[in-house]
């Protein structure tokens, strides 16, 4: 057991957990933040993407000890004061989801890519979504949502 302290969605959290605990289980089962999903569990599908110190990572492929002392943001941390984050809003506007299972990971990946890549076009968005799998939408509206959010982020900047 190890004492873990980290900041999750702006709040400091501490817990004693087994060393083999994966970050995703810590978030879901200890903190009850179940917006972060477990899809494939083999590091391929991206449903578990969260931000650790500002970068998108797969929380099923990280032990909680590696995030000790880090700042973690999950899908629950994006909306502020009851207002959706612009990327969440764009997914709603563009119907960027069907069953919604992959959506938290898609949105966390999208927020990261918009922050990182200045000139996102549709081809680049598709390439950047390499690590996020959606089994319903065919990706078309997800790409449209991210393109829309990226355009709005650029014009706001």
């Amino acid at each position: 057991m190890t004492a873990i302290t980290m900041t999750v969605n702006g709040k400091s959290v501490s817990a004693d957990v087994e060393d083999r605990t994966l970050l995703v289980y810590f978030l879901r089962e200890h903190l009850r933040l179940t917006g972060t999903h477990i899809g494939c569990d083999t590091s391929q599908c991206g449903a578990c993407v969260v931000h650790v110190n500002g970068r998108a990572v797969k929380s099923c492929t990280m032990f909680v000890g590696q995030a000790n002392g880090a700042e973690v943001t999950t899908i629950e941390g994006l909306a502020k004061d009851g207002a959706l984050h612009p990327v969440q809003e764009a997914f709603r506007e563009n119907h960027g989801l069907q069953c919604g299972f992959c959506t938290p990971g898609m949105i966390m990946t999208a927020v990261d890519m918009i922050r990182r890549v200045p000139d996102l076009d549709r081809a680049r968005i598709r390439a950047e979504l390499e690590g996020n799998i959606c089994r319903c939408t065919g990706y078309h509206n997800i790409v449209s949502a991210i393109e829309d959010a990226a355009k709005k982020a650029r014009s706001a900047a």
């Binding site: 083999r20 590091s43 990280m62 590696q66």
Partner: protein, 266 residues
């Protein structure tokens, strides 16, 4: 999926990491964990202690001069992709296409090299450019470093600290990724160096290897056409649910042509 129980320790220095390794029976070093953690979740690996060396400042640097690029073992793929674009564009391209963005935010060059996955990208760059692997004990030429499937010349407790890549006149990398894992079904790195042409193949066999026939042909004429008629014998190549040995043999030739074309453009 839950791995077997183990003890997690974060090392503050390389020296501490080595001490932590020495006093545990089945210790393993943890860098980015993008291969090791999935392997542990599948319960194919069960270290008693994981020693996290990912935060070590000593291993976190990228330096370039006129002759070589030196990359600290802790450099993450996205950092290499961004920072060696000018010095060795083919290496930046390779790093930018490992796994996916989230994997590139965690995975490190030292971890990839020490793990020597048969389908990893970096081993092709090391062997193709004739790099030197520096460790806590010594320097090892890439030609001697990769010894077999998931096997290297590293001794127990020896840690990769730096990779030094000589700058080539021209270099290119092309891979055919598995559409699910993005690991290379076949990847070919070609380089025209002052000591001759080098061609390294990953993903196709149990371990990265050089292709002497292609090297000889490219020494005569550094063009895609020069390798178009050269096939690697399918005997000894990997055959699995993703691709047969014959298909991999075919892919190696196609990737070699593309890598040469990329080298001529870059």
């Amino acid at each position: 999926m839950i791995p077997y129980a183990f003890e997690y320790r974060r090392a503050a220095t390389l020296a501490e990491a080595q001490t932590l390794f020495a006093d545990a029976p089945e210790a393993k070093f943890l860098a980015g964990g993008q291969t090791l953690i999935p392997t542990m979740k599948m319960r194919l690996a069960s270290p008693s202690r994981l020693i996290d060396i990912s935060g070590l400042k000593e291993l976190s640097f990228i330096r370039a001069d006129a002759n070589a690029v030196s990359i600290g073992a802790g450099a993450k793929h996205f950092e290499v992709a961004a920072e060696v674009k000018r010095a060795i564009p083919a290496l930046a391209h390779l790093a930018a296409h490992i796994g996916d963005p989230a994997v590139r935010h965690m995975g490190t060059i030292g971890g990839s090299v020490a793990n020597n996955d048969p389908a990893a990208d970096y081993p092709a760059a090391l062997l193709g450019l004739g790099a030197t692997v520096k460790t806590t004990a010594r320097g090892i030429a890439a030609d001697d470093f990769f010894t077999g499937m998931f096997e290297t010349d590293l001794e127990d407790g020896e840690i990769v600290t730096e990779i030094s890549f000589p700058i080539a006149e021209r270099a290119g990398y092309a891979k055919f990724p598995n559409p699910a894992s993005r690991y290379a079904l076949a990847g070919v790195f070609v380089a025209k160096t002052k000591d001759g042409v080098r061609v390294a193949v990953t993903g196709a066999a149990p371990c990265v290897f050089r292709a002497p026939d292609m090297e000889a042909a490219l020494s005569e004429s550094f063009t895609p056409e020069a390798v178009a008629g050269i096939a690697i014998d399918a005997e000894g190549l990997n055959s699995d649910i993703h691709a047969s040995a014959e298909y991999r043999s075919h892919l190696v030739t196609v990737m070699a042509k593309r890598a040469v074309a990329a080298a001529l453009q870059g």
